[in-house]
């Protein structure tokens, strides 16, 4: 992966997933290593996302890299009308790798085409967020001790959730069975289902989650936003069906873990937090190790990493 940009989950092979996850495992055991001390990482957040930015900056800082950048485009030259190309070309003079988040879909791909240094996409509009997907894979592999043969349920907004789309696509590399639980209005788009069909894998669709919970290894919760509904009454009618309460986990398999890309609003009640099956906070922590692994692989310093 040396010197390669990571823009989309389609850019990496199954072997490369393994490479990233294996290295992330080493960083989990030993997260403070001075392996990137000669490198400068730029974090360009054309729209704010404190959580993702801090995760990347923590990853870089713990490895001894220097971090430059901006957290919000409204305070930078971008607001003065500079083109994305000019911003990227300028910043690439000052840094060895660019991490960027941008509200427009395709912006990261374009940046990687004009940039002389590699680009990591930290979210381009509703399109891709590959490091979220990698940390989800890492969390699944870590809690289930494998990626092949997992039964996973996705719950909530499967139509607009890019996190869900990317993870579904990534999991079609493995022998996954998909359980898709959503209101009629927010079903997984057929273009994403096509990936499952193309991989000859099974998927099942439901509108309620109770009967599904005992069957699955991973329960991936997402937030349902009111603005996705044309009719607010419809939102009021369905929203309760996609809230996870601790009592609903009574019949779950022992190895089941609950994931959520965070931030949550009310789709997981707080009584779930104390259940050992709740894994969403560790999941976010895993993001740091995965991002450390990616920065290290792209900058070509993986040989320096101690296990």
């Amino acid at each position: 992966m040396k010197n390669k940009s990571l823009i989309s989950i389609h850019d990496i092979t199954r072997e490369q997933y393994d490479e990233v996850l294996d290295l992330a495992e080493k960083f989990e055991k030993n997260p403070k290593q001075d392996v990137l001390n000669k490198w400068v990482v730029a974090t360009l957040f054309f729209e704010p996302s404190t959580r993702t930015r801090l995760s990347f900056e923590s990853a870089a800082n713990q490895l001894g890299a220097r971090v430059i950048g901006f957290a919000d485009a409204s305070t930078s030259s971008v607001k003065k009308g500079e083109t994305l190309k000019d911003t990227i070309l300028t910043v690439s003079n000052y840094s060895d790798i660019i991490v960027m988040r941008h509200p427009k879909e395709g912006s990261a791909r374009y940046a990687s085409e004009v940039s002389p240094v590699p680009v990591i996409n930290a979210g381009d509009g509703a399109n891709q967020h590959p490091t979220q997907c990698l940390l989800d894979l890492y969390s699944i592999r870590k809690t289930q001790k494998k990626l092949d043969g997992i039964n996973i349920a996705f719950v909530g907004d499967l139509k607009y959730g890019r996190t869900v789309h990317s993870l579904v696509q990534a999991l079609t590399n493995y022998k996954t069975t998909f359980h898709l639980i959503s209101p009629e209005e927010l079903k997984l788009p057929s273009s994403v289902k096509q990936y499952i069909k193309d991989a000859n894998l099974e998927y099942h669709q439901y509108t309620e989650m109770d009967e599904v919970i005992p069957k699955v290894d991973i329960l991936y919760m997402t937030r349902i936003q009111q603005e996705r509904f044309a009719d607010p009454l419809e939102y009021e009618r369905v929203k309760g069906a996609y809230i996870l309460r601790d009592s609903m986990l009574a019949e779950a398999k022992k190895n089941l873990r609950v994931l959520h890309p965070l931030p949550r609003v009310n789709e997981i009640t707080e009584d779930v937090d104390d259940n050992p099956k709740a894994y969403y906070f560790q999941q976010a922590q895993n993001g740091v190790y995965v991002r450390q692994a990616l920065l290290t692989l792209i900058l070509g310093e993986e040989k320096k990493v101690k296990s």
Binding site: P103, K104, E105, G106, S107, Y110, D124, G125, Q128
Partner: protein, 156 residues
């Protein structure tokens, strides 16, 4: 049939050397002109449309003198004129004749349907991969990764 062809020839003069694009659906003639950028070239160009055609009922034809196109370029017109035939003329003789084929990639000429795509906000040429499935042709944007269906294709 021979008579029919001859009458068409009389309406649109034969060229000595160059390219003829025949069997264009009449409603697509001006799109073909745009796609090939013919409004900007200095060559002699003859355009006929609503001509009688055995195959299509009515058809359009474009003759461009002393100009030859790369197949990549000419194939772009297959998006609007899949029935079109490409004919290469040298010394008044047909040296090549073939139906246009839909290319694997479409660059610059089509707008991405996604309003939030970066190509609709900055001055960036679009770039699509052509996907043909049983339910029809669609273009996959290499930037935003969204699909534009055939019926939603708009030219830049």
């Amino acid at each position: 049939m021979a008579k029919q062809e001859k009458r068409t020839e009389l309406k649109v003069t034969a060229i000595e050397n160059g390219t003829v694009i025949d069997h264009i659906p009449p409603q697509s003639v001006f799109q073909v002109i745009n796609i090939l950028g013919l409004s900007r070239v200095k060559n002699q160009i003859m355009v006929g449309t609503n001509l009688d055609s055995q195959k299509l009922g009515k058809k359009g034809i474009i003759k461009v003198s002393k100009k030859y196109f790369e197949s990549e370029e000419i194939n772009k017109i297959a998006l609007v004129a899949p029935s079109a035939t490409l004919i290469v003329i040298k010394d008044f003789t047909v040296v090549y004749k073939a139906k246009v084929e839909i290319p694997q990639h479409i660059t610059k000429i089509v707008k991405c349907i996604n309003p939030n795509c970066i190509t609709n906000h900055e001055d960036i040429p679009t770039n699509f991969t052509v996907i043909e499935r049983e339910d029809g042709l669609r273009l996959h944007c290499n930037y935003c990764e969204k699909y534009t269906k055939k019926e939603n294709i708009h030219f830049v």
